[in-house]
């Protein structure tokens, strides 16, 4: 059924991506269908979306950050007369249950791009007299919320998307974002803050893109003050963070002002682990590195469309793997129905079981190996890209006079030695991040991170890092200045990590580095962002006319 989805007018690129991620998280797999209402600009807050049920719609809306409301649309039109006609022709059996005398209701009048006076609002409500409302009015806590929304070209230079023609919508509210979260979690009330702490709204959006749910394990390799993990923990995830700066993760600013206290402040469960580690040389124990080609093949054919539940996917992998001694009950979480699905998909069940019975002598260790390196459900982070914070990795060298060879720490100074670090380039950092994610994310798990892009004359290049194990499913730009933006990339793991894949990834990374990242490196990004603009001669005199030429529509700058 088509619902009217109205967004808050901000972070335009993030809006549909968020709804799509949440729909998938709630178990609705085929990609969503969207439509724009008549005469609406793509950046308009009014969208129509096809959702399977009202429950799905409500759950998406309530969990989201950017959905102002999802409505069952009773009617729309370019004028009040058209609206009346449209509402009257909407099926009675859809309307009447919400108009009975046992219900309480409220009608809210809203407009996009202009404020409507109280008097006008009242008049609009009265004009709806043709709807047979039988319930009682309750303004504080109604059972049913009706909304009358309108958008028009008000002719004001308010920077909003251009409107061709007036449009009025009337609908019943199904659900909307809980924006009260934002003042609760806003950074200015956060006890422990760093220079690059992630804004609460964006952190929640990242958690939604990563489909964070209770019981999932979420990792942030650049945890800093924990601002991203706080959002993930709010949605029930188990969290884990690492940082190369030990002051950030261990000390903070005292016993009641550190990463732990940021979680305690909101009564959230503390991270499962915080540690000091280098993303360039992560200290995670190795899992099984080699897997047979046929396994990979089965995996890619089976998971191409990625519609199977996670437990089934894991089971398929275990079943078709050449590793013996895996029984049904070695995969907790996989239900009997999953086995039935699996049987249908592979047709291999009896064969596999037979093989398992015969090869039962090997210990359960093999299973552990297979599962060991797929442990995280999501990796969410904001890598240091050298604008406000530069990355560091281990492997620096003490500059001792006259010594050129790599520095060796004298034996008597090893305890308490503070290792020096070396600069960590953006390209390397992103490559390591993708490699780590490919190794340690579960199949279908998500990697969500920010990537910087330069803007020149409002043109943005959209070449993003790639990896054979990952599919890019959303890229949402947030403009930070006229010269650069950051793009939130959402990637989903669709293929297993093998030696072969790792090699291919390195080659791909080299190509990418040659072509695109070089421009962002060598202080280029930093200077592009911070160097002063040099206006060309003669331009200053024109500044007044420039102002008038300024486009009325501000687009994604909101």
């Amino acid at each position: 059924m088509w619902y009217l989805c109205v967004f808050f007018h901000r972070l335009l690129d993030y809006r549909r991506a968020e709804v799509e991620s949440l729909a998938e998280m709630l178990g609705f797999f085929p990609s969503l269908e969207w439509r724009l209402p008549e005469n609406q600009h793509p950046d308009s807050p009014f969208h129509l979306v096809n959702l399977p049920s009202e429950d799905v719609a409500r759950n998406i809306a309530n969990r989201s950050i950017l959905v102002k409301g999802i409505y069952e649309l009773w009617g729309e039109g370019s004028s009040l007369e058209q609206l009346e006609e449209s509402i009257k022709s909407y099926p009675e059996d859809r309307k009447l249950p919400y108009l009975t005398c046992e219900t309480t209701f409220k009608v809210t009048v809203d407009s996009f791009g202009k404020a409507i006076s109280f008097q006008e609002q009242n008049d609009r409500i009265k004009s709806l007299a043709y709807i047979p409302f039988k319930g009682r009015v309750n303004l504080k806590n109604p059972d049913i919320n009706f909304w009358l929304m309108e958008t028009d070209d008000y002719g004001a230079h308010n920077g909003l998307p251009p409107v061709v023609q007036r449009r009025i919508f009337f609908g019943r509210l199904v659900g909307g974002a809980d924006r009260k979260l934002l003042p609760t979690y806003e950074l200015k009330s956060r006890r422990y803050l760093g220079p690059t702490a992630m804004d609460a709204e964006v952190a929640f959006l990242m958690a939604n893109q990563a489909q964070v749910m209770p019981g999932k394990l979420v990792y942030d390799p650049f945890v800093g003050t924990g601002s991203i993990l706080v959002a993930a923990a709010h949605f029930g995830a188990m969290t884990m963070g690492a940082d190369i700066d030990i002051r950030a993760v261990r000390d903070g600013r005292g016993p009641d002002c550190n990463v732990w206290s940021n979680f305690k402040q909101y009564g959230l469960p503390l991270p499962v682990a915080l540690l000091r580690a280098d993303n360039n040389l992560p200290p995670w124990r190795p899992g099984l590195k080699e897997r047979l080609d046929h396994l990979l093949k089965i995996e890619t054919t089976l998971f191409k469309h990625c519609t199977l539940p996670r437990c089934v996917k894991d089971m398929v992998l275990v079943l078709v793997s050449p590793i013996p001694s895996i029984k049904e009950d070695d995969m907790p979480g996989a239900s009997a129905s999953a086995w039935t699905v699996l049987h249908k998909v592979t047709g291999k069940r009896s064969e596999t079981e037979e093989a398992l019975r015969n090869r039962n002598h090997a210990g359960p260790k093999h299973l552990t190996c297979l599962a060991a390196f797929i442990i995280f459900d999501a990796i969410i982070c904001d890598p240091p890209y050298g604008v406000r914070a530069g990355g560091r990795k281990s492997g620096g060298r003490k500059l001792l006079k006259g010594i050129v060879a790599p520095y060796t720490v004298p034996d008597d100074k090893r305890t308490g030695h503070i290792p020096s670090t070396a600069p960590y380039s953006l390209a390397e950092c992103v490559h390591d991040l993708l490699d780590l994610a490919a190794r340690m994310l579960v199949m279908g798990g998500r990697l969500v991170y920010f990537y910087p892009v330069l803007r020149e004359n409002d043109v943005v290049e959209n070449h993003f890092p790639e990896h054979p194990c990952f599919k890019l499913i959303a890229s949402s730009e947030q403009i930070l200045s006229s010269r650069y933006s950051r793009v939130l990339l959402t990637m989903v793991k669709t293929g297993s990590y093998t030696e072969k894949v790792a090699e291919a990834a390195t080659i791909k990374h080299q190509e990418f580095k040659e072509n695109y990242v070089k421009r962002l490196e060598d202080g280029n990004l930093h200077s592009s962002v911070f160097s002063p603009v040099h206006p060309q001669l003669g331009e200053e005199t024109d500044s007044k006319s420039c102002k008038e030429l300024k486009p009325k529509y501000r687009g994604k700058y909101v």
Binding site: V272, R276, R414
Partner: protein, 122 residues
């Protein structure tokens, strides 16, 4: 540092072939109560190196875990409680993790393991 973390960590010093499991040197262990979450335990169980966990728990003074475990034991709440305690409630607050091959100590202060390598270990 919880034993869950210990179970995932390994020494990644250059040239070390088998850096797992790290030996634990205990200076101070604290116990912190954590909400019991059986689903999380069941999810994580197949990913654990059981022997490493049992040994680590013993070093920390907890000897209730069985030598061998398989997933059928996840049905028993008693077992899950023990696993929960060992995995999530025992914290190594002060001490060190020792690389099994080289003997290099990775210090653990205020519950945070410092896994950063020295210049000549990269």
């Amino acid at each position: 540092m919880r034993l869950f973390t210990h179970n995932m960590l390994s020494s990644n010093i250059k040239g070390v072939a088998n850096g797992f499991p790290l030996r634990i040197e205990v200076d101070q262990v604290v116990e912190k109560q954590v909400d019991f979450n059986p689903d999380f335990l069941k999810n994580m169980f197949p990913k654990l190196e059981w022997k490493a966990l049992v040994d680590a728990a013993r070093t920390m003074g907890y000897t209730e875990l069985p030598e061998e475990a398989d997933s059928s034991m996840l049905e028993s709440e008693e077992f899950l409680r023990k696993l929960h305690h060992a995995l999530l409630e025992l914290h190594l607050e002060e001490g060190a993790l020792v690389c099994p091959e080289t003997g290099r100590k990775f210090p653990v202060n205020k519950g945070i393991p410092n896994m950063l390598l020295h210049e000549d270990e990269v």
